[in-house]
């Protein structure tokens, strides 16, 4: 734990010092998206990877965080930190609520419900004029911040902080008895319950934490774009990426989603700049198919296999 904390603080220090070495704002603008995907992929993996319950509604949890922040910013001009906390709370509650309704059932019911929730909530937001409805809402963000100067650099740092909290939470869950309980649920829910694991409580906890982290990732979204509208906020791309990144990186370990998000997120940014943003989905799709067929345990599985083979 101490080693992880020291490592995390070192990473955060390095990120805080980046503006001294990197002066082009674009790198922070692109890096923000990669960090955002680290949070989404890590959050997805807590329920999908550890417990085996697949969430197809990442976009809904992300957008609830984003729109909660926007509504509170518009109504009370809340500072970013409080917007993030409120976004996380709202999406966490959503995770708990959807879980309460569907996690008593086993199998794909939760997955179906998350798709339904995304559609219902998008329809609500499309008709919610206070936050811009279908035509969206421009956000006036401060041009400068005290320590970081440029606001994009500040948002990059904030997202890095959220990413560290997400990865730290996932690591704690994975290595604790909670993580072993979730893995037992994924392997065999009936046997887990008969081994004393309170399966529903654990699944609800995981759904709440996962939802909260997704909401936290979504909260600064409007500030980042200076604009918010429902189509991109609820985009299916969030769900596909959040699912593909842990699968590509490896779902069994907290570092897997981080590897997947850095790899896929960076590749998407390169493709966006050099080819077209429309090709992004194709990139994700192709990589997902390749990994599911050739390396179902992701990059971590490949490394493990390679280590095993070289030790023989």
């Amino acid at each position: 734990m101490l080693r992880f904390t020291v490592g995390a603080l070192a990473v955060l220090g390095l990120i805080a010092a980046l503006p001294l070495a990197v002066h082009n704002e674009y790198w922070f603008f692109a890096g923000y998206v990669v960090l955002q995907y680290i949070v989404l992929a890590t959050a997805w993996n807590i329920l999908g990877g550890y417990a085996g319950y697949v969430n197809f509604g990442t976009g809904a949890f992300f957008a609830v965080g984003a729109y909660t922040a926007v509504a509170l910013y518009k109504a009370f001009a809340l500072p970013l930190g409080l917007q993030i906390l409120a976004g996380a709370a709202a999406s966490g509650l959503l995770g708990f609520g959807v879980g309460m309704l569907t996690l008593r059932l086993r199998g794909i019911f939760f997955s179906i419900a998350t798709i339904a929730v995304a559609i219902v909530l998008e329809t609500v937001v499309l008709n919610w004029q206070y936050v811009g409805g279908a035509k969206g809402l421009p956000i006036l963000r401060p041009a400068e911040t005290p320590f970081f100067g440029n606001y994009t650099v500040w948002l990059f740092f904030v997202m890095a902080l959220i990413a560290l909290v997400a990865v730290g939470s996932a690591r704690y869950v994975e290595t604790s008895w909670i993580g072993r309980g979730l893995r037992a649920i994924r392997d065999n829910e009936g046997a887990a319950e008969c081994s004393g694991v309170p399966t529903l409580k654990l699944k609800l906890g995981a759904a709440t934490l996962s939802g909260a982290l997704m909401g936290a990732a979504g909260a600064p979204y409007a500030q980042y774009l200076s604009f918010i509208e429902p189509t991109s906020s609820f985009s299916l791309n969030h769900a596909v990426n959040a699912l593909a990144m842990p699968i590509i990186g490896g779902m069994g370990h907290w570092i897997g989603p981080v590897i997947g998000a850095v790899l896929l997120g960076t590749l998407q940014q390169v493709v966006t700049v050099t080819v077209s943003s429309e090709v992004n989905v194709l990139v994700v799709g192709v990589m997902l198919v390749v990994f599911v067929v050739a390396a179902p345990e992701g990059i971590l599985g490949l490394v493990k296999r390679w280590k095993k083979a070289s030790s023989k």
Partner: protein, 242 residues
């Protein structure tokens, strides 16, 4: 005989129009070796699913150590001292043999209060007792059939039960392996654990059980000592094919 540890009173369970259990009443005394037999579809597994909380009984009551269990989820029943093995082994396949035991130890016995290393040491003790210590670090999906059966029992034991329900723990095993599992069950019973054995291998049930109940079509058709069961014509007709 000791006082009842488990009292099953007029338990019934329907699946649609099919009555899997109809008014089944059984008392199991503390420390007893109890056999539950019956032909396929007679309701044995349904009954233990109702006891362990995998299924809710539609009627009647199940009382364990004076406490009504009906309505309690399975994990609460395990925490109260009822553990079971499964007819078809259900290991936590992504985990090692040792980790399989760590789960019930953490969730039932220590509730996360003990360090992992200490919990693992405790799990190793159980594995030694059951003869699986050398497989502790093996992935559980790499085990042989008899090892899987032993793992099922070891994992149930890790929940520190007062009542162990062994659901066809010997199915598909060779004669030597059956003796091996039987020996483990005798040893567990000698340590004070009440055991309900569901089994199709008659020799094993007769050798192990002090008392047997035979179910047929969801009803009890005979109850008594092994000798009584073997001599009963209804049992012979329903189960032994006479």
């Amino acid at each position: 005989m000791e006082k009842s540890l488990l009292e099953i009173k007029s338990v019934s369970k329907q699946f649609g129009g099919f009555a899997a259990l109809s008014g089944v009443s059984i008392d199991v005394a503390g420390g007893e070796r109890f056999g539950l037999i019956g032909p396929n579809g007679s309701g044995k597994t349904t009954l233990i699913n109702c006891i362990s909380g995998v299924l809710d009984n539609d009627g009647g009551s199940i009382v364990f150590d004076g406490e009504e269990l009906s309505g309690l989820p399975a994990y609460q029943r395990t925490r109260r001292g009822i553990a079971r093995s499964f007819q078809i082994p259900r290991p936590f396949a992504s985990m090692s043999v040792l980790e399989n035991l760590v789960v019930p130890l953490e969730y039932v016995v220590h509730r996360g209060s003990l360090h992992l290393a200490d919990t693992e040491a405790e799990a190793m003790e159980i594995l030694r007792g059951i003869g699986l210590a050398d497989k502790a670090r093996t992935q559980s999906n790499q085990l042989s059939q008899v090892e899987l059966r032993k793992l099922e029992l070891a994992r149930a034991m890790a929940a520190r039960p007062r009542l162990l329900i062994s659901d066809e723990a010997m199915a598909g095993l060779s004669a030597n392996e059956v003796s091996e599992v039987l020996e483990i069950l005798f040893k567990l019973n000698a340590s004070g654990i009440t055991i309900i054995m569901i089994e199709h291998i008659m020799q094993a049930v007769m050798k192990f059980s002090q008392r047997i109940v035979c179910l047929d079509a969801g009803r009890i058709i005979c109850e008594g000592a092994p000798g009584t069961i073997v001599a009963n014509t209804d049992v012979q007709k329903a189960y032994l094919g006479a």
